[in-house]
Symmetry: C3
């Protein structure tokens, strides 16, 4: 009896300890989601298909051509379809909405602030993202800072990678969302 | 004695379990706050009263009229009074400051990034918000991603609803802030 | 034996309790970092040195001079060097990238959304910030909403202060980052 009580105490201790994170390497997501989204920038001629538009630019640049100097200073607003696979024409499960900002003069980097609004039989809710995107690196991590609906109060890290791009008009991002705080 | 120890263990178990959230439906906020804020967009003629201004727009649009296509691509910077009730002329308890971005071409949706700076006898501190706002839906949820002062490290969800609007010049949002992580 | 079991239970209780924060005053950061970053705004003549640029402005303003009315409505995109001390010419340990928005008509305040991308022998990873910056106040607190790499899932509060400024071209911010959630 005493032994079993000690055993219970021991497992209680494990339970309590698990709330105090140790080394980062060993964390496993409590939930994971891989999605793709597709961005077609307005270039003055593709109004019907474009899902995003340049809305701000530095002095001397215009709103139909991404600025020189690695697009430094361009702000793009987007409303991009989200799909489960890498096919632009797959049925969308939601929309990626927000903005990206090109923010370096001597290489391609962006700052991202956007949300996933998911609306499918599997997922209903939003996921909010924020972070630096050093575009030329194969995989980069941004923060998942919150969520609503099915993703109520979730936090995590999203690993993004450029799955494809065509000139300066189309790109597709793969987003591997790993939640480490689930509710 | 053994029984009481087991009982204590049992309650310990409950205490530890409570840190591991189960179904989302049963959560109760640890703190709640209902506030209103009031936005008057600059339209070229109301400089004295305007609390916000269009600062970015897509190609072909200007900065005194919200753009066509459901204002897609407009970025609005705002500094709006916050009140405890739905009266624009009530004494403000702080300012809502940040930006909203219209981000869909075929309906009204916005992306919000802003802060409440509260400065009253009741509240001193800031609350930081982020999220997608599908304006045409009655209530929508955005993330409360952090806070300072009285709201140090708080996280939660804010339910916003359009309490009133007048043409494209004035709108009032009701913000029901529910904190689920209080410090 | 019974006593020791009760003792273990008691410590379990303490461990479980520690997850439930009490008064905010007594919190100590689990990690702290003081860094500086340096911003040189493009004014039409300093293209070689400028680290930031005005990319959006209200009606009537331009992109080489900060707008009237306390710069209300200006959006500035930046890519600023981060240093360990207050010397602009110290070896940078990373880049501060993102945007600030001037958002009040009758005093200087800004809204900040940016990331620190750190890349030195000491730190590799990103820290994501968000919050209101009432510039004229000596120290102001913004939220640290997430991180990646060495700052995986971290949250906290950053106290910023204007360490120096020269006219409207250069300013240096001291950022005292206090993490209260470390992983």
């Amino acid at each position: 009896m005493r032994a079993s009580c000690i055993l219970v105490c021991f497992f209680m201790f494990l339970a309590a300890s698990s709330a105090v994170p140790g080394k980062k390497k060993q964390y496993k997501p409590c939930r994971e989601l891989v999605l793709y989204f597709h961005d077609i920038i307005y270039n003055g001629q593709n109004a019907a298909n474009a899902t995003s538009a340049i809305v701000a630019a530095p002095e001397g640049a215009n709103l139909t051509i991404l600025a020189g100097q690695f697009h430094f200073g361009n702000i793009v607003v987007f409303d991009d379809p989200i799909t489960l696979d890498n096919n632009l024409h797959s049925p969308p499960v939601g929309r990626a909405q927000g903005m990206y900002i090109y923010d370096t003069k001597n290489t391609f980097t962006a700052w991202l602030g956007f949300s996933f609004s998911l609306n499918s039989t599997d997922h209903l809710g939003t996921i909010n993202f924020l972070g630096a995107d050093p575009i030329m690196i194969k995989t980069r991590d941004i923060s998942v800072v919150g969520g609503t609906g099915d993703f109520f109060m979730h936090r995590g890290v999203a690993t993004i990678s450029t799955d494809a791009f065509e000139g300066e008009v189309y790109f597709r991002l793969r987003v591997d969302i790993k939640f480490y705080e689930c509710w």
